[in-house]
């Protein structure tokens, strides 16, 4: 990597170790006092314009080395390079503190609050150190992701959350926790003057399920594939793919080519259904139900196709570490072609209908503008970033699955409004159809699942995919005996959601649902992770036997 010399010259001896993890992944271990400087050095590097904070992982490494660690994972995007850089610092077990990056780069805000919540690692100088992930009634000083916390524990505290005080002269207009325009619980507290939004506070993570803790405590590598897919009900397949890629990178597993192509086709089918879903939702929110119904009618064809290909409309469950579980039979290729043909003609009509509906365009145009500078500061990704002029797409910049062999365009718009995001998604839908066609043509033969021996413990790697909503990053640190030591899933919305208050300011409450929806938020994705029974406050986890019984009952019904 070409900039390492420069880095060494600048920080000298305080860089403790530089290690290559995979062909495009580097891990730089630095002294904790310069951690924030090194992170910002890369983020603001003049030659890497689209560098962004992809994820941040806090790990309880006390059983291994008696220390905590935090790693900022940055991705170098655009035309610069295909590189992921992890910047790691070890923190003493008795006083885990590090200097916060948030004052210098807004995008770090949530990550740092999350390690504070879950691991008790304190980001010093954080401008907003409120609770982020844990429920309002979680007691302080209990950190669920520490290794000495058992996954079935369920401590109870007092319910309290410090919402921000409304600015002077404003009233509170709560959107959520339940609202027709939100498909999942989330709470946007709008501070309004009349209809105008002056400011906004956000409280989310109501659907935090403890997926990471369960994965680290009681699942095997292959089982995690399925729980990773259940992170999201819309874009689950990209999550399981990202997870598999992380383990494959850590374990140096070669995935057969045919499996890569099958993954690509399924990923793009998923994008098709997801973008059609979004178009429908956007129409519904503006009262244009005809667009809604037609978009979802088209989407249904994709769902049916996926059911024929994988056995499920959604949550395909065909990913495994090392490949896929299900092959495409030859005659099913024709089915894919038929559906694509239908989509091509009907999607064109739908787009014409949308763009010729003046009232719809009027509602989208010039609303919820996120300028490029802010987009960069918040490290937003996916169609939201591309609608604001950020020219990056994981599929093109860090090719995974079969994307390296395929040809496609990455649409970028500069306007940064809701309409730009809509247009990005519409163009991506066309590109997806084109990608599937190419992948089908080039589909190689051979195995679909690689065999591998034991995965060596304590290796780290990340896997990234371009989900319909943006960059998904899964970090895995392998553990002994077919288990992971640390698993961290980061969904696209995690980077996009914190930017929403900046997009809402200055617009009206009429625009708010559309602006919120325009990032295509996926709250369960973002919040991942305990089945908590709110009423009793107890964590309820199904025993395996119980679960099996339920599953058998469910499949009998089918």
């Amino acid at each position: 990597m070409k900039y390492l010399e420069e880095l060494k010259a600048k920080f000298g001896e305080r860089i403790e170790e530089i290690k290559q993890l995979a062909h495009n992944q580097w891990l730089i271990t630095v002294d904790k006092d310069i951690l924030h400087e090194v992170v910002v050095y890369f983020l603001k590097h003049p030659e890497w314009k689209e560098t962004q904070l992809s994820t941040m992982v806090g790990t309880d490494e006390r059983p291994l080395r008696g220390k905590f660690s935090v790693t900022y994972w940055l991705s170098v995007n655009g035309n610069s390079d295909d590189v992921y850089i992890g910047i790691k610092a070890y923190l003493p077990a008795d006083d885990p503190r590090f200097k916060s990056v948030t004052p210098l780069h807004k995008g770090a805000n949530w990550y740092e609050r999350e390690v504070q919540d879950l691991l008790g690692i304190i980001p010093e100088g954080h401008p907003d150190p409120r609770k982020l992930v844990l429920p309002d009634d979680w007691p302080s000083c209990v950190y669920p992701l520490r290794k000495d916390f058992h996954y079935s524990d369920s401590p109870q505290g007092e319910k309290y959350y410090p919402y921000r005080e409304p600015p002077q002269g404003t009233t509170v207009h709560p959107i959520g926790p339940y609202h027709v325009a939100l498909d999942e619980p989330a709470h946007f507290r709008l501070y309004v003057k009349g209809e105008e939004i002056i400011d906004c506070d956000y409280r989310g993570f109501y659907s935090h399920r403890g997926i990471e803790k369960i994965s680290e405590s009681r699942l095997t590598y292959d089982q995690i594939c399925f729980i990773a897919e259940r992170i999201c009900g819309i874009c689950g397949f990209t999550h399981s793919t990202a997870y598999c890629q992380a383990v494959e990178a850590a374990g140096e597993i070669e995935v057969p080519e045919r499996a890569l192509y099958i993954r690509t086709i399924m990923l793009e089918l998923e994008r098709l259904h997801s973008h059609l879903l979004w178009i429908g939702v956007a129409c519904h929110l503006t009262g244009f139900d005809t667009g809604f119904m037609h978009a979802w009618r088209l989407r249904e064809h994709v769902m049916w196709l996926c059911e024929r290909l994988t056995g499920n409309r959604k949550t395909y469950g065909i990913n495994l570490v090392g490949g896929v579980r299900r092959d495409f039979l030859d005659y099913r290729k024709e089915m894919i072609e038929d559906v694509l043909k239908k989509l091509k003609s009907e999607f064109g009509k739908l787009v014409d209908d949308l763009t010729s509906t003046k009232t719809f365009i009027k509602r989208c145009e010039g609303v919820g503008v996120l300028p490029y500078k802010l987009a960069h500061e918040w490290s937003v990704d996916g169609p939201l970033g591309r609608g604001s002029g950020r020219d990056f797409d994981v599929r093109r910049d860090h090719p995974y699955a079969a994307y390296g062999d395929l040809d496609f365009k990455v649409p970028v718009y500069k306007e940064g409004d809701v309409l730009a995001r809509a247009l990005v998604r519409i163009e991506e839908t066309w590109e997806s159809i084109w990608i599937i066609e190419q992948a089908l043509d080039q589909l190689p033969g051979g195995d679909i699942l690689a065999e591998y021996k034991e995965i060596p413990p304590y290796r780290e790697a990340i896997g990234t995919t371009e989900a319909p909503r943006g960059e998904n990053v899964h970090y895995v640190m392998t553990g002994p005996g077919n288990t992971v030591y640390r698993y961290r899933a980061r969904a696209a919305t995690y980077n996009n959601l914190p930017a929403v208050p900046d997009m809402l300011r200055g617009y009206t409450i009429a625009d708010a649902p559309l602006i919120i929806a325009s990032i295509d938020p996926c709250y369960s994705c973002t919040e991942r992770v305990q089945i908590v029974d709110i009423e009793s406050g107890k964590v309820r986890i199904l025993k395996e036997e119980e679960f099996n019984k339920l599953s058998i009952k469910a499949s009998r019904r089918v």
Binding site: H179, E195, T290, H294, D353, T359, K362, I509, A510
Partner: protein, 306 residues
């Protein structure tokens, strides 16, 4: 006398029972456009029936909250009573066109009372929007009817359609009237005050059960009143040349013609609704203001006698 009773009965049926059917048909038309099967055309009756049978949950002790739906219902009803049903006008007197405008405004006032009587930012926003919308569209409706009154030299809604003479300004007045009726009826893209996905039906947000049922029914009757006005202005001037409206059969034929045109117009409205998104309140007001100034020009043309 017998004839009058028959007309009165038919009129009562039209006012109370027809609006839910029209809504049901409109829902069916929209469903067809959206490739859905859609609910039965009688669904709105079922909805109203179940709502009216349910005890409402009251979020506030205020009397205003409880009586607002009845004020709305009474206003909508009053608006229909000055309209001509065939040859029959339930309550006719000179100047009833002002009454028509007043009671329509009363309906909106009831919505505002409903919205402001509870401490909820959603209902307040809805009430605000209703107020802005009504302030911007009521003048357009007034101007449109004014042009007709000027043309017919009559201030009675029953008398206007029978006395109008054909002039260029009249065609423009029809366009104005159609626009005003559409906006005031709260059809998409002007369902701004009750926008479901934005402010959860605005002023109706806190209503439930019987009170909600009354409000919904009243809104449907208000739409009927507005459309019936337009239909009468369209049908009566034509029918008076074909039949003698004052006779029983002539009156009946006119009534049938009015109903047929009403159904057609409701169908067209369903199509317009299905192919539009909702406007934002500021966009709607800007548009209404433009139309209002255009209306003033039409009024001027009419005053000059063209």
């Amino acid at each position: 006398m017998m004839e009058k009773i028959i007309f009165a009965l038919i009129t009562v049926m039209i006012i109370f029972l027809l609006p839910p059917l029209l809504d049901g048909i409109s829902r069916k038309v929209k469903a067809k456009i959206q490739y859905r099967v859609g609910a039965s055309i009688f669904q709105t009756y079922y909805d109203l029936q179940s709502l009216l049978n349910m005890e409402p949950i009251l979020p506030t002790e205020r009397l205003a909250f409880r009586i607002a739906p009845y004020i709305a219902f009474a206003s909508a009803l009053a608006a229909t009573l000055v309209l001509p049903f065939g040859s029959f006008v339930p309550v006719a007197f000179t100047g009833d066109f002002f009454v028509f405008l007043y009671v329509l405004a009363m309906f909106s006032v009831a919505m505002m009372i409903a919205g402001f009587s509870v401490n909820n930012s959603y209902t307040n926003a809805g009430a605000n929007r209703e107020m802005m919308l009504i302030l911007s569209i009521e003048p357009v409706l007034g101007v449109a009817i004014g042009v007709f009154a000027l043309n017919a030299h009559s201030l009675s809604i029953g008398g206007i359609p029978l006395n109008i003479t054909f002039t260029p300004s009249l065609i423009l007045a029809y366009v104005l009237l159609a626009y005003a009726v559409y906006v005031e009826g709260g059809f998409i893209p002007f369902d701004i005050a009750e926008a479901e996905t934005e402010i959860l039906e605005g002023p109706l947000c806190e209503y439930s059960g019987r009170l909600l049922g009354m409000f919904k029914w009243a809104m449907l009757i208000k739409r009927l009143a507005l459309l019936w006005l337009f239909v009468s202005f369209l049908v009566l001037p034509i029918m008076k040349n074909i039949v003698d409206i004052t006779t029983f059969t002539g009156g009946l034929a006119t009534l049938v013609a009015q109903l047929v045109v009403l159904f057609i117009i409701y169908g067209i409205i369903a199509i317009i609704e299905a192919s539009n998104a909702r406007l934002r309140i500021d966009q709607a007001i800007r548009q209404n203001t433009k139309v209002f100034f255009a209306g003033l020009v039409v009024l001027l043309i009419a005053a000059l006698g063209w």
